[in-house]
């Protein structure tokens, strides 16, 4: 059964900067099913990373989630809040965004955990690795016992924290069991000599080992959903392969769902069952890997796939997408399809906002949704906009 652990609806995040309002994430919808890896792929500025931060409510000022719901399936939480927060409950699902702050924060760990491109964003350079993971375990342990008095030292890192951390030794409040569990977790993520390595500081770890340590830290809360934002981008390809194997293994054995965010279409292909393609803050196409990679409808998806050189076949010429990523400033975005300026198939009918539409899908039970007029009609040259190139391969 394809049950959804997470249903994201109309998620909208804006940044209110000096230059104006930036529409970083724009009405994003997607589901994450039990035990699947859902991929979000996009280029820089597509909004994929802000989407990740928005899921776990970690968007920092001047950014703010202005709209949308993140429905998370947890029957117990739903029951608990059915009376006090009826608007935040729908059947077995709770809308994380409408839950009280303390509950929301508590959910980071047992519900959602994150890993990022740069392990140093979640690891403190002045504390031994094992201790930090033990702390994460301890935090989760206490959170479970008493959800209201939670605090995590290692999340959100700044100079203030650094000072506090160096003054207040942490050993005091980490139990032996948590230490043992930390070593187990290090072993679990494939770090050799986990006992010894637990005593070492982050700088004594190689890039691949740090990434593993961060995964161990994320596993401390036994999360239902692991959000991995470019987890292998900084790594060499042989190390990337190790980490991808590890993530697959953990996802299967721990029965987690994973939201994998990356710019690398190869990583998406290896890891994901379903995938969403983001462009200019929107999910422009989503569906099964088969539909998106083999029957793409959105010209951006097509262009992206045509841009990457093929390892097996050295095509003499690539077919790049012409032009550059558009501005995300609200004042400059306009009403037309955001891809229209670069789209080789832009037509008259593309000059207004395009909703998500259904496109043909090859797998039963997996929708294929596209934000493009071509979802339910053919390209018609007679309606082509000025400046739009013919859909043939461009050759400058």
């Amino acid at each position: 059964m394809a049950d959804e652990i997470l249903k994201v609806r109309n998620l909208t995040t804006r940044f209110f900067t000096e230059e104006g309002q930036v529409n970083a994430v724009e009405g994003v919808d997607f589901d994450v099913r039990d035990g699947e890896v859902f991929g979000i792929v996009g280029e820089s500025g597509s909004g994929k990373s802000v989407t990740a931060l928005s899921l776990i409510d970690l968007v920092e000022t001047p950014g703010r989630i202005t709209e949308g719901e993140v429905w998370y399936r947890d029957a117990e939480l739903a029951d608990e809040h059915r009376d006090s927060h009826p608007e935040a409950v729908d059947g077995d699902y709770v809308d994380v965004r409408q839950l009280p702050e303390t509950t929301r924060r508590w959910l980071r760990g047992p519900a959602f955990a994150t890993i990022f491109q740069d392990p140093m964003s979640s690891l403190n350079p002045t504390i031994p690795v094992g201790e930090q993971i033990a702390e994460a375990v301890e935090v989760q342990r206490r959170a479970r016992a008493n959800p209201r008095r939670t605090r995590s030292r290692t999340q959100g890192y700044g100079l203030g924290r650094l000072l506090i951390d160096s003054v207040i030794p942490s050993r005091n409040y980490v139990s032996d069991e948590s230490h043992e569990r930390a070593v187990e977790l290090l072993d679990r993520v494939g770090i050799p000599d986990p006992e010894q390595r637990a005593e070492e500081y982050p700088h004594e770890f190689s890039g691949g080992m740090l990434q593993r340590a961060m995964v161990a830290q994320a596993l401390a809360g036994e999360p239902d959903v692991l959000i991995a934002d470019e987890p292998t981008t900084a790594l060499d390809v042989t190390i990337q392969a190790q980490i991808l194997n590890l993530l697959t293994e953990l996802q299967e054995e721990e029965d987690m769902s994973v939201v994998l965010i990356t710019h690398n279409l190869g990583v998406i292909a290896r890891m994901c069952q379903r995938v969403g393609v983001m462009y200019a803050g929107e999910v422009v196409e989503r569906g099964s890997l088969e539909d998106v990679f083999e029957n793409p409808v959105h010209p951006y998806t097509e262009g992206l796939l045509g841009s990457i050189p093929d390892l097996e076949d050295p095509a003499p010429r690539l077919s790049p997408i012409e032009g550059n990523v558009p501005s995300l400033l609200d004042s400059e975005m306009g009403e037309k399809c955001y891809f229209a300026d670069r789209c080789p198939k832009a037509m008259e009918s593309c000059l207004h906002r395009i909703d998500e539409r259904d496109a043909p899908s090859t797998l039963d039970g997996v929708d294929h949704k596209v934000r493009c007029v071509l979802a339910d009609r053919e390209y018609d040259e007679s309606e082509a906009l000025d400046g739009a190139t013919a859909p043939e391969v461009t050759d400058d």
């Binding site: 194997n245 050189p309 990523v325």
Partner: protein, 512 residues
């Protein structure tokens, strides 16, 4: 292999013997190139009594770059590929070895030769932003090299000519003289720089004009004839600026962007500026150091197509340094795979990608995730562990600590995968990092049965006795016991990395 090429891997001094025959088409010949860095030795290190160590970033590599080709230099971080590019351009001082550019030793060049070398050999860096001075306009950035080299200079081999058009009312003979240095302003076509000149009747007398901001034409009556003279009127600065504009156009930007600053451009556009800057001195050879790694894929494809076009148009030779194998497959004619400061394999691109011979090349290709549905759920046979430190690289073959094909001694019988595990154990024993307590706790035999379950017979007995030594805290004895039985040619002998007659390398004992 050893019969056809001199074995000079260990003698950098004698590395210069080249024969004219085997490098007839080589623009660049790199021999036994080494670059070591001193690391440590700072104040803190001295206080702590630490000795400066040498980082062997590039440790004896040989290859040619042939005229008109793109040679790829690939490998993971720390393999020495970027250091190689910078060292062979003399941007860093080499520790040893030689580099010949068009037959001339780069490291022995005098000031004059080096100036010419710096014009003919250029580099484009990965990060277009940090390599462009933010306070200079892109026009100034592109023109800077020309300024430093006092360019544009006239090329004596280029002829100049005029295309004359004569207007109504002029019925005399018109003779045109074109300045020899016109090619500083007008690009030559087939060895001739041509300028259209027109002569027509003005109010009183004939007037001559050229449709170019930097040129001027004067007309003079000489007896019955008219004499027109075309000269360069623009200053050197103006000429450079105009050329910068033309270069910007050539790389896909617009010439009226010369007065903009780098921060006004996107990443892809900045990389185009970097390319225009490299082209400004009409080079023959360009080192492209990860030129598209910082770019999004859609923009990356644009830049790769541009590099392809420029190579063809200007007859350029590229050394393309990259870690992305798909990009390398796309753009390179031949590929050298580097690992820990050495070349592991070198050959034509198709051969490297379709029939790789070196176990490292195979592992690298196996690791790349393909952007296709068939990739879904593919489990990759990964390499164990990390790349060792270039401070203390493994003896023999540098890849032996991770190689899945590491060769067992001939006189013992052991499965390949088991031998790999034995070698991993040896590694930890030799590093002294196997915890004696861990062995004591369960006893040597149990420990071996758990860690190396497939080991049997005499092999198992030797490992047991070594583990007993570890349990006693004697790592050295344990290491010696293991070495005596399991020593492999991969650790005792460095594989031959001298290019063969066709320039190919497979530095692996499996090829011996």
């Amino acid at each position: 292999m050893t019969e056809t090429a001199p074995d000079n891997a260990d003698q950098p001094g004698s590395a210069t013997d080249r024969t004219a025959a085997d490098d007839a088409d080589a623009l660049l010949e790199v021999r036994s190139l080494r670059k070591h860095y001193q690391d440590g030795g700072g104040l803190l290190d001295r206080v702590l009594g630490r000795e400066a160590t040498s980082v062997k970033a590039v440790d004896g590599i040989d290859f040619d770059v042939r005229r008109g080709e793109t040679l790829g230099l690939v490998g993971e971080s720390g393999c020495g590929k970027s250091t190689t590019g910078e060292t062979l351009l003399r941007l860093r001082e080499a520790t040893g070895g030689t580099v010949a550019f068009d037959g001339e030793e780069v490291f022995d060049m005098d000031d004059e030769s080096i100036a010419s070398f710096r014009r003919r050999a250029q580099i484009v860096f990965q990060d277009p932003f940090s390599s462009l001075d933010p306070r200079m306009t892109v026009g100034a950035i592109v023109a800077e090299g020309m300024r430093i080299h006092g360019l544009p200079e006239s090329d004596p081999t280029v002829a100049t000519a005029a295309e004359l058009s004569v207007g109504d009312g002029i019925d005399r003979m018109v003779e045109v003289t074109v300045a020899d240095d016109l090619d500083r302003v007008i690009d030559a076509d087939d060895g001739v720089a041509r300028v259209p000149v027109s002569v027509r009747m003005g109010e009183k007398s004939p007037e001559a004009s050229v449709d170019h901001d930097l040129l001027g034409a004067t007309v003079e009556e000489r007896e019955a004839d008219l004499h027109v003279e075309v000269t360069v009127t623009g200053s050197k600065g103006e000429i450079r600026r105009a050329k910068a504009g033309r270069l910007l156009e050539r790389v896909g930007l617009s010439s009226d962007q010369v007065d903009r600053y780098p921060h006004e451009f996107s990443g892809g556009q900045r990389q185009r500026v970097g390319i225009a800057r490299a082209l400004a001195l009409d080079p023959e050879f360009i080192v492209l150091d990860e030129p598209v790694s910082a770019l999004d894929v859609s923009v990356q494809a644009q830049v790769l197509n541009l590099l392809d076009d420029l190579q063809e148009e200007f007859g350029l030779t590229y050394l393309f340094i990259a870690h992305d194998l798909s990009v390398v497959r796309h753009i390179c004619d031949r590929v050298a795979v580097m690992y820990l400061g050495k070349i592991a394999e070198l050959g034509p691109t198709d051969q490297i990608f379709e029939n790789p011979d070196h176990p490292y090349t195979k592992a690298l290709l196996e690791s790349v995730p393909r952007a296709e549905v068939a990739e879904q759920g593919r489990r990759v046979a990964t390499l164990a562990g990390d790349v060792p430190s270039p401070r203390n690289p493994p003896s023999g073959c540098r890849f032996r600590t991770r190689c899945p094909k590491v060769i067992p001694p001939e006189d013992i019988e052991i499965e390949q995968s088991t031998f790999r595990e034995v070698m991993n154990l040896r590694e930890t024993v030799e590093a002294g990092s196997l915890d004696p307590e861990a062995v004591q706790e369960v006893g040597a035999q149990r420990y071996r049965e758990e860690e190396l379950p497939a080991l049997d017979g005499e092999n198992a007995a030797v490992v047991d006795s070594a583990l007993e030594a570890v349990a006693d805290g004697d790592h050295a004895a344990a290491a010696a016991t293991l070495r005596e039985r399991f020593e492999t040619v991969c650790e005792t002998t460095e594989p031959d990395a001298t290019p063969d007659a066709s320039g190919d390398v497979v530095a692996c004992h499996l090829e011996d």
